[in-house]
């Protein structure tokens, strides 16, 4: 059992809500008035711990207390009750960007920030080039950071935070603003960190990152822990809660979309059979059939399927636009079928999500989440790990 890198013990944090910020002496002199505030409990009796070497996720809706929790961990806010214990050198990146001084150049801010995080000047100088290179801001490093874009700001902050050699890295919503290259870099860095046995606490609304990267997670609702444990399960419960019970069908699927055209049902067939099934074997040929009904004529709809492993990884997500299958319009009832031969998926449980969108994939006519859950049974070939087989040929030379 790994030791705890971070322990949060019965943490409660309340804020005073004044009707308006009464930071004036009048209120102090008027005495009683200042006491007329409401207490707002942002975190209530939160207890959990994070083990060394773990990537730990915190999820929850806007205003549920995630950032407040992280600020308490970082020692920026003082809890009203309970405690936070951190055993390792910590570096925290809170709510988009570290503390930078807007008038100072990127260079000066790197030094200032690293000094705040506890590094000696010589140590910073030694890593400066690495930091700048990681941020990718070589040509802007001597401009004041107030001229930086949001993404540039975060890149620099992230570059500093990970280069001060923290054993515990706390990150609040950073992937949201970086571009693809940078997000990729961050993910790689997270993996490195994990492999080096360092600990990461991550707040994000990107549910796929939680499922892919986290070992464990907690779910906060109005400052209370509503769930703790396996990220995939938590994310599923959370997504379901967020999309609302209203859209939930008796079979467990979740529907949203504007509804001009609707997905009636989705079926899975094996081989040439016309009997719908819920399981097949590796290397079977399958067909997925999506029945739709449109109240009126819908122009250029795009039909999409996504097969997701229970663990959260998307195995494949084809859509009709990818192959240029673009009917000018559809109306009435009909179905779309996708056939897959010799399926390479390995044994496990998978979910099928389906959607019908407009050509730009921006507007959703209908989205049926968890349209079908099916199992892949052991077939040939069989491999113990992974999601799909590449049907390998082995040679051993001796």
């Amino acid at each position: 059992m790994a030791a705890a890198a971070l322990t949060v013990d019965h943490l409660t944090k309340t804020f005073r809500l004044h009707s308006e910020k009464n930071n004036s002496l009048k209120m102090l002199i008027a005495g009683k008035k200042r006491n007329r505030y409401e207490e707002f409990t942002a975190l209530r009796d939160v207890t959990f711990d994070v083990k060394e070497g773990e990537v730990f996720g915190v999820i929850g809706e806007n205003g549920s207390g995630k950032s407040t929790l992280l600020k308490c961990m970082a020692g920026i806010l003082q809890p009203n009750a309970g405690s936070v214990h951190v055993s390792k050198r910590m570096s925290a990146l809170l709510e988009l960007g570290a503390g930078f001084h807007p008038e100072l150049s990127g260079r000066d801010n790197v030094f200032l920030n690293a000094a705040i995080l506890g590094m000696a000047r010589r140590e910073i100088a030694g890593r400066f080039d690495e930091i700048v290179e990681f941020s990718g801001l070589e040509s802007f490093i001597d401009s004041p950071v107030k001229t930086y874009s949001t993404g540039m700001y975060v890149r620099l902050a992230f570059a500093v935070a990970i280069n001060v050699d923290p054993q515990l890295l706390i990150i609040d919503e950073i992937l949201a603003v970086g571009d693809v290259t940078f997000q990729q870099k961050c993910l790689e860095k997270f993996v490195d960190f994990r492999n080096e046995g360092r600990t990461i606490v991550l707040v994000t609304h990107a549910m796929n990152s939680v499922k892919d990267m986290c070992d464990r997670a907690i779910w906060l609702t109005h400052g209370v822990v509503t769930g703790e444990g396996d990220p995939a399960e938590l994310v599923e419960a959370y997504t379901e809660m967020m999309l609302g019970d209203r859209n939930r069908n008796e079979d467990g699927s979740v529907r949203r979309g504007s509804g001009e055209i609707q997905i009636e049902r989705v079926e899975l067939f094996v081989g040439a059979s016309e009997t719908p099934v819920k399981r097949f074997r590796t290397s079977d040929s399958i067909r997925l059939r999506l029945h739709y009904r449109a109240e009126k004529s819908v122009p250029k709809p795009v039909f999409g399927f996504a097969i997701e492993h229970l663990g959260g990884a998307t195995v494949t997500a084809p859509c009709t636009r990818d192959v240029g299958l673009l009917p000018a319009s559809v109306s009435g009832e009909g179905y779309v079928e996708i056939a897959m031969d010799n399926v390479a998926m390995l044994p496990g449980t998978y979910d099928l999500h389906t959607s019908i969108t407009d050509f730009n994939r921006q507007h959703e006519y209908d989205n049926l989440h968890l349209a079908l859950r099916f199992d892949v049974m052991t077939g040939k070939p069989y491999e113990t790990g992974g999601l799909v087989t590449m049907r390998p040929t082995w040679t051993i030379q001796s």
Binding site: G75, A92, L94, A115, I116
Partner: protein
């Protein structure tokens, strides 16, 4: 000190960003006292026909020099406090994002202002020499008094900058208070020539009055202030500093949520 590097960098920032985007830059820190000196010299000597006090035992009789030797230390005090209030308020971006000893925001201002004061006093020393006072042998004693003044200024700055996070009135209040203090301190007048008893008491024995009187003694009169006076300054400086630090440390954990 764990965050010595931080203090160094913040002080450097304080010194460097002050006159950014100004053509004359650092020269401004000299123009301000010089223009004040011109104005007050003209008003007091030509309008009010006041005469400069006579240094005892130096025999110096020079209103601009008398004025400057009081103004520079006083400005150090009042600017340090004013800028500190702004530095803590303006440090919100840091305070809300990273954990660090917040008092360094104040200390860095004190360090930067003290360096500025040293430069100004070097110029004053030259002017004094030309005017007939050689203050070179007096510099060690002056330095000791200035250290006490810096401790006193830090204490007041710590207290007010922390309180200002909770009540922004402090900022405005300080603007008025520092003006009142300016006139309650013997800078533009010699307390001996005044017959308003209350003002004489404040000017002679109030905290700022005590510091300025001692500094006048050293650089204008060229004599050692009384032992009682020096002791008083040491006590005021050290006590204010530690009391200010105590208040600041009590309040600073709550800065982030108030900002």
């Amino acid at each position: 000190m764990a965050h010595r590097n931080l203090l160094y960098l913040l002080s450097l920032k304080e010194l460097r960003t002050r006159y950014k985007k100004s053509i004359l830059g650092w020269a401004w820190s000299l123009f301000n006292p010089l223009s004040q000196m011109l104005i007050f010299t003209v008003i007091f000597i030509y309008v009010f026909k006041a005469s400069a006090p006579i240094g005892d035992p130096s025999g110096l009789k020079n209103f601009p020099l008398y004025f400057m030797s009081g103004l520079l230390p006083f400005n150090f005090f009042s600017i340090t406090v004013g800028v500190s209030i702004g530095a803590v308020q303006g440090g919100a971006g840091l305070i809300k994002k990273v954990q660090f000893p917040h008092e360094h925001l104040v200390f860095s201002v004190v360090v930067a202002q003290f360096i500025t004061l040293m430069i100004e006093l070097t110029m004053l020393a030259v002017a004094m020499f030309i005017g007939g006072n050689n203050i070179l042998p007096w510099l060690p004693l002056l330095f000791v008094v200035l250290i006490f003044l810096a401790l006193f200024s830090s204490g007041v700055a710590l207290m007010l900058s922390a309180a200002n996070v909770f009540y922004h009135d402090i900022n405005y209040l300080w603007g008025i208070l520092s003006q009142i203090l300016f006139y309650a301190t013997p800078i533009i007048y010699n307390p001996a020539t005044i017959n308003l008893r209350a003002l004489v008491l404040i000017a002679n024995y109030g905290p700022t009055g005590s510091f300025i009187t001692a500094i006048h003694n050293i650089v204008y009169d060229l004599r050692v202030p009384g032992t009682g006076r020096l002791l008083e300054l040491a006590v005021i400086g050290i006590a204010t500093f530690f009391f200010g630090l105590w208040v600041f440390n009590r309040l600073s954990p709550h800065f982030a949520e108030e900002m």
